[in-house]
Assembly symmetry: C6
Homo-oligomer: 268 residues x 6
């Protein structure tokens, strides 16, 4: 059984560059096992942060990418048929609660209500997970903690977390890193020299200013690393930016021209 | 069989601070097994109250977090396949009715109609639960009682209990405790000294005045306990309030400023 | 097999107070096995009446609380898997038709069309129930009768019985009993002296006048019995009315004040 | 196998009173196995007519009450699990096609499209029913005919037969019988003397004139027979009309008064 | 296995009267296995044409009547449970692709998108059908061709083929045959003398002019054959037209009068 | 096991005519295993390009035609029942990740969110695919790459990729090839002489100018090849264009006239 949980240990240190006091705050929150909500835009490093904390705290990490077709059973578990009839199989949330992992529900707002409500008894002082179909009540392992991510600029009126869910979590804000930190990250992850990395970050900063003025989202750190990786592979810098930064986020001709112009300012 | 029900006994006294005559009224209601509805905002102590009463009355408590994807079968039970064909498995409501537990349906308005209608025959003088799929009629155990929770400020036009359901329940109103009681609760549960607890409660009171003026819900007692727990762990009080009180309930910059200012008034 | 039906006999006389000629009319309708529709508001005694008639006619009674998630199979039956493959299990309607019970579909308008259409062949001169999935045609037992309930003030445009369904039933109107009869019922069922019972009924009458003027439904007889039961258990009369009559039906502050004032007029 | 079909023979002559040339036309249509559509209001005798014709032609009759939750599999058949794995079970349409019955789909417009489309290959010169799930193609028995009913005043824009379905059927119009014929039917079926029957028919005629002026449907012949049956059982005629004719079709007070007045004109 | 496909051979020549160069064009299309779309109104002979071509080309024909509840599995196949576990069963499209039939999807626009998208890889140069659930890739038999039908006047905005589907097919237009050809068809198929057939066609032509002016669809050739068949069975010509031509397509009294008048012009 | 993947190798060089630097850019992207998005209109060669690249890179290619009824299980895999109970079967995405194929999700925007979200962990630095139902975490094979196609002019407001999905892909734009390249493709693929091919391309160019002015989509290269194939089979050029170019894309009479006129300009 412990083998199931072993595969979720983060064995090598993830590259993470602290921005403020988020590491210390998270450690305090984990010490009282407070459920945590990581807020911030797409691709700014929330997933990387939780991997880093799991590595630092030496706890296994079970990540679930939520989606609107996921059911409570996908989290909690279900009966499967085998040669001797049915046998119960824990879902990722039950595995985490039973063996003491950090359970990270990525983009939890995408999930249906039954997914989010199912975590309620794990987030108050009871710390239990009722497996109603099995008639079992899991008392969470002392190491268990639940973490969710949430993109505030992304929610519509139709799709938001219920207040009774939000109130069960402490919250940490995330945003794109500062110019210098982001440049260091891009250089480290893609292998480009730091001057190239700085140029890429500058392009991203221009694009982020267009968010809400024709762009739904800015250019993420992850996209800059993609662009850098192509440049490392000897692709022309303008072509790399076109493929990795501009074409993915907009089909609007004017916006494409504006972004291509920003690219030309830095690479020509 | 009695082992199934045993795991639902509340073995240690839950910390509960009575506010008015709710304990006496509930005891009278239980003595005639009147179905009860607990009304009030998120996080004001309804769940804690029912746990306290179950402990006081020495009855097992089965709690079900309702959600809109829950089916009647999730409450009543279903046939499962095993090595010898199918076998019936009681759902939580059937277990409660059969063995005499208090069955607490939390946020019952979230459930689909079939969930709420299924409790009707348990709420009138018949006190039966038809397991239609099994062809069995459970006559409820003498100790059985049904309790539901309901957040009146939370229901939309599309989602409300049917009148024919509401009329089957006696109702108790709940609200946040008074300043002194709430401070005592926060101090007791989080370990902070009482002056810190009072400051936290004062911040919450300011936020609750903003409900309906930019906030959907106020700050709950549970959130104050979270903030206190972080302070006990040596986290700076302002940071603790930011993580546990402000960031979880709003993403609006003005509202965040207003709440952060309230925090600064008490902690600086 | 006959044991299945035996559990549905009403063995003790239900307390029922006739209001007009409804007992005689029902007996005539039953004598020609006319399908019957009982019309009237929530909690006015329709269910109690059909239990009384079943007792009086010495016929078993199978009650089904309808809901919008109920399928035709929930009424008619389905194949279940057992050790030897699948075996058919009659649903409540098939049991009633096969063994000669009165089948009472409570709030039938809540059900989906397939539930209501499935009863058609049982309501005309054929009196058959096709079990299409099983390839069997049940010819209804000579004692079988179908009864449905219907709350006319409750239906929306989207949810009403089809005319072709309505026309298959004779109909009886029900309403709250007269002052004296209702007082007698409340005194009998809750154990309060008759002067208290009369006061409770008077409060209900005031609330019923507010139906459509801020209240969706009036206070039902069942609620008065709940209030009386609390008073019998030494609960203060005003508190009992608050818990059992006022809080369950409205969250509107003005309406609560109006109802509380009506309570104070009679109990102070 | 032939036993399955035997239970669908109409063994005693149904009471049917021809109105025009419908019997002769139907016989001609059956002789070329033309699919037929019977059009007319609720309760005017369409179902009785097809039973009569099945009896007259000495062909088994399989009636299916259509509804919006019925699937193509409910008509065509499905695989069932038994001790040796899965075995195919013909649905009512497949039984009718295979063994040569008249298959009567009552209120076919209620069914989903897959139900209606599934009959197409049985209605053109191919006269086949593909059991796609089983990989079998049933060539319809020489005696097989398909008949559907349809209430033209009843369809909404959202729910109508597709033109490509309508064009596959010959059509016969039905309406309530003439005064004399209807009186004879009511007297015959309910056992009341003919003067009472005539009065009942006269009341119905008045109500039918109100169709579209406050009533969705008129009073059907079936309802008159119900009223007559109550009168035969010594129920007062006014009470019988109230229960069987007026209360079932309207809850509007003015309309009830109008209909009650019509009743008083004939019975006092 | 080849026996499965054998039952789909068209063994006797279908009666088909070519209108233009459609036979030659189809033969060319088949010779390059171009997927074909047959466009035209209900009942104008599209199905008959594809049967004729299958007979002429000596290829088996598998026809599937599409509907909005059909799933991709209904076309492609599914796993069935038998005594030894699950076994795969090809759906009609997989049978056609594997053994080299013409697969005719009638009224394909009725199907859900997964049905139409599933045919894409069979319509480009790959000519493969991935059985994703089985993990098999069927390379279509050299004789396989896919044909769909489509009624352009019938599609709504909500329900149309995707452009990326339409572009995968060559298209042939169909319409009702010319007066002489249609008369010959009606005479041949129904057995009426040619003067009667001509009169029937003339009535249809008048009705077709009313399409869009009160009629949704004109009278089809198939309906004329029905009318002729009744006349052959000694039914009066006016009654035959009423039953087979007028009553099926309209319930509007004015339109019925207009069509009945047209009938009287030719038969009196 | 390796046999499963072998069937997905592209064994013969697909005919592909590079337009710009797309081959070089794709090779660089593949060398860092960057997930790629191919953007462009229907039938312009996106699928052919990815087949060509798979052949060039000597990697197996698994193509999945996405649709709105596809579930995450269709991609990831599911448990199947066999003689020994259930056994897991990898879906196409799991096969690709496990054995190192290029997985091409065609028209991914058609899929439901659970399909698109399921690919997220494969598109960031983790490169894992959690098989949550099986409790296994696949670490993608070093050769694995994910590619999606996307038609920007085709998406509605209701149906678009989430920004958090788009940002995970590099993007390449595709469009119809230049006149000369497209003519060469048509001649090569259909066998017509190059002058005929040029005329066909000229007709397509005229139609593409009508896109947005009465046509939803232009004429694709694939349609030109169909027309050429019919001409090669001795079909008259005008008839071939009518069948393969005009009739499939429009039913509007004016638009048909305009397109037929364009055809006549080149073939007469």
């Amino acid at each position: 059984m412990s083998k199931i949980i072993d595969q979720y240990h983060v064995t090598t240190e993830p590259y993470y560059h602290p921005v403020a006091d988020e590491v210390k705050l998270y450690e305090a929150a984990y010490s009282v096992r407070m459920p945590m909500m990581l807020k911030g835009p797409t691709g700014c490093g929330k997933t990387r942060f939780v991997e880093y904390m799991a590595w630092k705290l030496k706890k296994p990490l079970i990540t679930v990418a939520c989606n609107e077709d996921m059911t409570a059973s996908d989290l909690v578990g279900r009966f499967l048929l085998d040669a001797n009839g049915t046998s119960w199989q824990d879902g990722p949330l039950a595995v985490a609660a039973r063996y003491g992992a950090i359970c990270y529900l990525d983009e939890v707002v995408e999930a249906r209500q039954d997914t989010t409500v199912v975590i309620h008894p794990l987030t108050d002082n009871r710390r239990v997970l009722p497996l109603e179909k099995k008639g079992e009540l899991i008392h969470a392992h002392a190491d268990f903690q639940i973490v969710i991510s949430y993109n505030p600029g992304y929610q519509s009126l139709m799709k938001d977390l219920k207040q009774s869910t939000k109130q069960r979590f402490g919250a940490l804000d995330f945003n794109y890193p500062s110019h210098d930190i982001e440049s260091a990250i891009v250089a480290h992850e893609s292998g480009v020299p730091s001057d190239i990395a700085e140029k890429l970050v500058s392009i991203a900063e221009r694009a982020r200013n267009l968010k809400g003025h024709g762009l739904d989202e800015g250019i993420s750190t992850r996209m800059l690393i993609y662009a850098g990786s192509l440049i490392t592979k000897k692709v022309d810098a303008q072509a790399a930016c076109r493929v990795a930064l501009v074409r993915p986020i907009t089909d609007d001709p004017d916006m494409r021209d504006a972004l291509d112009a920003a690219v030309s300012t830095f690479f020509n």
